[in-house]
Amino acid sequence: MFDSSILLSLVGLPLFGMILLFFIPDTNPDLQKTVGLSTSLLTFLLSLLLWLQFDMSTPKYQFVEKFFSVPYSNMHVYLGVDGISLFFVLLTTLLIPICLLASWDSIKIYIREYSIAFLFLEAVLICVFTCLDVLFFYIFFEAVLIPMFLIIGIWGSRERKIRASYQFFIYTLVGSVLMLLAILYIYQLTGTTDVQVLTTVTFDYDTQLILWLAFFASLAVKVPMVPAHIWLPEAHSEAPTAGSVILAGVLLKMGGYGFLRFSIPMFPDASVYFTPLVYTLSVIAIIYTSLTTLRQVDMKRIIAYSSVAHMGFVTIGMFTLNIQGIEGSMLLMLSHGVVSSALFLCVGVIYDRHKTRIIKYYSGLTVKMPLFSITFLFFILANMGFPGTSSFVSEFLVLVGSFKSNVFITVLAATGVVWGAGYSIWLFNRVAFGNIRTSHITAFQDLDRREFFVFVPCVFLTFLMGIYPEIFLNAMHVSITHLIEQVQ
């Protein structure tokens, strides 16, 4: 019974919550927040059902159902998940309630609209990850811009937010219009935009190269890969905490997902051809952005640049085109989705209290905020790939995978772990250790209960992925093997 309607309900539930929110008067902001949170929690529970009923033994798309069809064209849009998209859906539904809970007190204007924006974002993101049609993937991929632009622009923290939302918008738009043309070209060549059909089509070599580049223009901006990463630190540091969380946690993954779902299976020859390009850009991303991290004074920018470095690992892993590499990059995306989100939440915690993210105002927080410091330490360790945490397993898998295909790149990429340790420890050292500095900040308050509950699922998941990654890897194993078979 659930099989047939679970994905549509996943999309529909947040939309239903949105409509409900329209009818709650502004005099009752608490009820608005509660409705938003409970809708997203229900969606999360429903998505767990997706995982429970997921059949791990088949690479086929599951829970497939018709979304809608467009007249006068061969477009019948289906929703469905396989091992690749399953966890992205789960990550989305997990992070949205965390976002709403994390910004419970810090959002003071347009509270209803805030919840509506996040619920809309959730519905669109679920569509992005489950839609089995290239054109509609594009449509939802772009539709994400609308709520995100408003979230950064309206609820962002400083004056620079305008510039940040501009950059975010324009960068993404420039890349993705080229993808739109590529999709229209594919449609013109094959008469369909259905992924299930397109993966069986073989494009000729030159066409593949052009199409791959057009897709790359869009996906590389989203990942982001190095020359196109400028929007990311801006957007991250100006967005509200929850905005950064969803940006780092899910939005960056749309790029990686796009590579795995479209670029690699549809244009396998071009993917092999362009592997050196991806490797080079990724290694530059790892080393260059890690070094850039060391010169930042804003904590959010540090984490943003470290995200770029981690996404460099992801793209390396993806284009090794072997099972360890791809599974490693999948796991790294999930792990990064949890860990860097949690780091942004940590920064959000102290930003809520003291309204600054500049490192030099903080020192010796361990003395007054022990609970916060231990949480922060945990995620800092997770960020640098400490054994026992999720990043260790995934970065290890990525390096194993890339060792098989290119030793030189592996060596360079492996230095990234050292850089990561460098800036992570450096950041934590400045903020948490040292003498307590009361010249700027005089009153301290440790994590309260709400914030504690925000961090619990992140800590749990980081441990779980670090100690027992099989439950995640098993579900994606068959799909990824199938993907690699398609390439070969």
């Binding site: 467009v70 939802f140 539709a143 622009g153 918008f169 043309l181």
Partner: protein, 499 residues
């Protein structure tokens, strides 16, 4: 010979036009008689005439909708009535009706107090309705002049404003120039073929028995070039766009709304009829003209709008850019491109209606001023967040962001362009739409994030504009859910014209 038997059933077919014409005359005499009546103390009957003309436009619309769709040429092949012309007429009359609705509050607040505004709008509408069903070069010239002359007067309608007078004069001089080009072009074609009727011309220039004589051939081409240039002038495409920003800025705002919505439909429909059906065999010749004009319009429209501070000038440039998109779709020259063009046209009209109903509907509390500068909107996000959000959605739709309707318009157009293998043009097109995104987003930025040193409050929007804004916004947001009727309509109409 009896008058009625001479014209046969012709009058039955052109019933909507006849009705509109009669309504114009009737309303004119009604206005003249009553507004100069001394015994009634010279009443101000502007809104009265306004409602009556809206009423008569509504009846014209219902006559059009209920007219049996037959292909028939009337008045000795002077006019043709077919599915395409009926469709364009419905679009023209309904958007004119909406423009009248939108201008009611403006005329009321500004105390313009002369009823001729609506008469002129109706006459222009009559001209455009005839224009889309012309089947003869003479009828073309007559109806385009009826339309243009009404436009010149409308542009100069605000007598107290020197801008308006300037706009009217500029429009008149340049419009007369382009009419001259049109007349020259038609006379060339007539001189070399001896024909004025579209069907007969198309028979002469078509197929193996087509024009073999080099002189005749070149003569027709030169005539065609002049006709094309004149029409591009009227629609405001790029190398001939210079009048557009000045006229749009100077004309009273409801007239600007009218200019940027309705004539685009009429002239596009005329271009389609002329070049897709009559001169289709010259496709290799007219294709590059429209292609380059389209590309140039896109670029000039997008880049020119970047530095505009006034909303009306900005919309003028945005109109140029949009005409550019339409023209590159037009130049593809296939059934798909025509149906894509029609869908784009419908969506463009709705977007413009939505945006201008916003511009006409927001007035400052203090001096009832309309928003002239983009920076005047700087408090809107704080004062009226719902309105600001609606405008944001309209602008996102103009950017072409899915899932709003504007995206689908662009998508169908670019799909057609890709199918005709005009890849470079498609790339230039999407990139210029990114440039266009800059200035649309700038309006959003000003509304939500702008800072202003004085706190402007706005009057409540009047009911008519609110109605127009909300219904067009509903269309823009939910177009993606059920586009079938529009696609069906566009497809049938374009098949009807081309096959």
């Amino acid at each position: 010979m009896d008058f009625l038997t001479f014209f046969g059933n012709d009058f039955k077919v052109v019933m909507p036009e006849l009705y509109l014409f009669t309504a114009c005359l009737f309303l004119l005499s009604y206005g003249v008689i009553f507004s100069t009546s001394k015994s009634l103390n010279y009443p101000i009957i502007q809104l009265n005439v306004g409602w009556l003309s809206i009423f008569s436009l509504g009846i014209t619309l219902s006559l059009l909708i209920s007219s049996p769709v037959v292909t028939m040429s009337v008045f000795n092949n002077l006019l043709i009535v077919d599915a395409f012309s009926t469709f364009s007429k419905i679009l023209i009359v309904s958007s004119t009706l909406v423009c009248c609705l939108m201008s009611m509050s403006y005329l009321n607040n500004k105390k313009v107090n002369s009823f001729e505004y609506f008469i002129l709008i109706l006459l222009a509408c009559l001209g455009m309705v005839c224009l889309v069903s012309t089947n003869d070069l003479l009828a073309l010239y007559m109806s385009i002049e009826l339309m243009s002359l009404s436009f010149y007067v409308l542009a100069a309608y605000k007598r107290s404003s020197e801008f308006s007078g300037e706009a009217g004069l500029k429009y008149f001089i340049l419009g007369a120039f382009s009419s001259g080009l049109l007349l020259f072009g038609t006379s060339m074609i007539y001189g070399f073929t001896g024909l004025t009727n579209f069907e007969e011309i198309s028979k002469v220039v078509t197929g193996i028995n087509g024009v073999t004589d080099v002189v005749t051939y070149n003569g027709i081409i030169i005539g065609l070039l002049f006709v094309a240039v004149a029409l591009l002038f009227k629609i405001g495409a790029a190398p001939f766009h210079m009048w557009a920003p000045d006229v749009y800025e100077g004309a009273p705002t409801p007239v600007t709304a009218f200019f940027s919505i309705v004539p685009k439909i009429a002239i596009m429909a005329l271009l389609l009829r002329l070049f897709y059906s009559t001169f289709y065999d010259f496709a290799s010749l007219w294709q590059p003209i429209f292609l380059y004009t389209g590309v140039l319009s896109m670029l000039i429209g997008s880049i020119g709008a970047l530095y505009q501070k006034k909303i009306k000038r900005l919309m003028a440039y945005s109109g140029i850019a949009n005409v550019g998109y339409m023209l590159i779709g037009f130049s593809a020259g296939t059934v798909e491109s025509m149906s894509g063009l029609i869908i784009y046209l419908i969506i463009y009209v709705v977007m413009m209606v939505a945006f201008f109903s916003f511009v006409l509907g927001t007035q400052t509390e203090k001096d009832a001023k309309l928003n002239m500068h983009v920076s005047d909107l700087s408090n809107l996000g704080k004062v009226n967040p719902v309105l600001a959000m609606s405008v944001t959605f309209i602008l996102f739709s103009m950017v072409g962001l899915p899932p709003f309707a504007g995206f689908f318009g662009k998508m169908y157009l670019f799909l057609a362009v890709m199918q005709s293998e005009l890849y470079t043009v498609a790339i230039i097109g999407v990139l210029s739409s990114v440039v266009a995104a800059f200035y649309y987003i700038r309006i959003i930025k000003v509304m939500f994030f702008g800072t202003s040193n004085h706190y402007v409050t706005y009057k409540q929007m009047d009911k008519l504009n609110a109605l127009v804004l909300s219904s067009s916004l509903f269309f823009l947001i939910f177009f993606f859910a059920y586009p079938t009727p529009f696609l069906l309509c566009a497809h049938k109409v374009s098949l009807g014209l081309l096959l």
